[in-house]
């Protein structure tokens, strides 16, 4: 059985919390190389234009605490349990490319986001499938994200960007989706940087409490 299956099977069977946590760390650090053939044309071109070296495709798993935080950012869980990212370069020159998707109104918008030193270096709409709100593809909108980071310290109840993103009338839902993805990429970047030892660890997501009433 490969590593991936082994991790999940073991995690299910082991009741000890520390061992489960260790397994989860192993699961999160699990990474893999990919061939360009598995990517769409737009995504492959975006990767090639931002990462010169042959980048490694790796995965950030959206399980446990990460899943809770992602749900807070998007207002719903991400549609898959793992998210791909590609990295190249070292130290301050290390760039990470995230390719993420979020539904605008009815259909997913695919967005490519390049992050360097926990700031967005470039954001581009790789595939827009909606019939309205295409204006988010315009550079005048996407360039607003250049140099943006998460407000520090990160408040997991209200994750915000350092700069306000101007909306577009008639494209409110698309703007909202792209802004959420920018926050998501920056949040996930903090997780992988923490893992790689180059960022402060995020505090756990707040647990939502529900008051019980007698019926």
């Amino acid at each position: 059985m490969n590593n991936l299956a082994l991790f999940l099977v073991s995690a299910k069977q082991i009741s000890s919390k520390p061992i489960r946590a260790l397994l989860l760390v192993g699961l999160i650090s699990f990474s893999a190389q990919i061939h360009a053939a598995a990517l769409s044309e737009e995504s492959a071109a975006f990767l090639a234009s931002h990462l010169q070296e042959n980048p490694n495709k790796q995965y950030q798993w959206l399980t446990g605490e990460v899943k809770k935080q992602v749900t807070l950012v998007l207002d719903h869980p991400y549609y898959t349990l793992r998210v791909p990212y590609w990295q190249s370069g070292r130290d301050d020159n290390r760039k990470t490319v995230w390719i993420l998707e979020e539904i605008g109104k009815h259909k997913p918008i695919t967005v490519g986001i390049v992050i360097q030193n926990q700031q967005i270096k470039s954001l581009r709409i790789l595939k827009f499938r909606e019939s309205r709100g295409w204006e988010v593809e315009l550079p005048t909108f996407t360039q607003q994200f250049d140099g943006i980071a998460l407000k520090s310290p990160v408040d997991l109840n209200n994750i915000d960007l350092t700069t306000h993103i101007d909306g577009i009338s008639g494209a409110t839902l698309s703007v909202r989706a792209v802004t959420k993805l920018s926050k998501l990429a920056l949040l996930l970047q903090q997780h992988i940087d923490t893992k790689q030892g180059s960022a402060k660890q995020l505090t756990p997501a707040p647990v939502k409490t529900h008051s019980l009433t007698n019926h």
Binding site: N2, A5, A32, I34, A38, T80
Partner: protein, 244 residues
Amino acid sequence: MNKPSARKLHRSLAWVMVFGLVYLTLSGVLLNHSKALDLPNIDIKNPLLLKWYGQSAAVVSQSFSVNQHWITRINQNLYWDDKLLPLQGEIYQILPHEPFLFIRQASQVAFLSSTGELIDLIPLPEKLQKQNESQLFVSQQQIYLMIDQQVWSLNAEYSEFVLNTDNATSTFKMTTEALTNNPLPETLKTKLLALAPSGLTLEKIILELHNGYFIGSIGPWLLDLFALLILITIITGIRLHIKK
């Protein structure tokens, strides 16, 4: 036209237009407040209306029993029990491989956890796309996809299928059977059919009633005729007013 004739024509036209104007005004007001009234999200499931639009009513096309859960396709949507999966389209094959589940479709293999959460989508190489006769199987804990005596293996990261150079199919021991279609329990079927969107919304019907397309391409022409009648009524009304 003399005065009695103009008055008669004016009255007859006015009666015809009362109904038309009320109908257009009401549908226009509804469309103006479409979002507030949530019209785009009101699904129409009336079989007659669906038939009128050439759409088929929601039907269970495929259903598979997986470890006391059900994977169902209703029209193009896939469900895990009564939860909508972020997947669409025909299911070619379902292969359980604890603790995962693989759903083979036209151009991808969806990779799910045993609790029905989508882990990832594995794109199929172009040659393997839309090949219903290809077969996904497990041999010695490894996932393979076979077509025309060619065998492709799923890499260790479950991210892509790679062509096997050693294609001796006799060496494979298929250890896991793919699932077959099973009839869906009636309670779940009723629940899913009530949940499934029809694709026809109340907003669309009101819009097409308003612009005339509800009865086809002749509808707008009839509305043009109605507009002409309004003009005639205005003219006859002015004439009657002047000749008072």
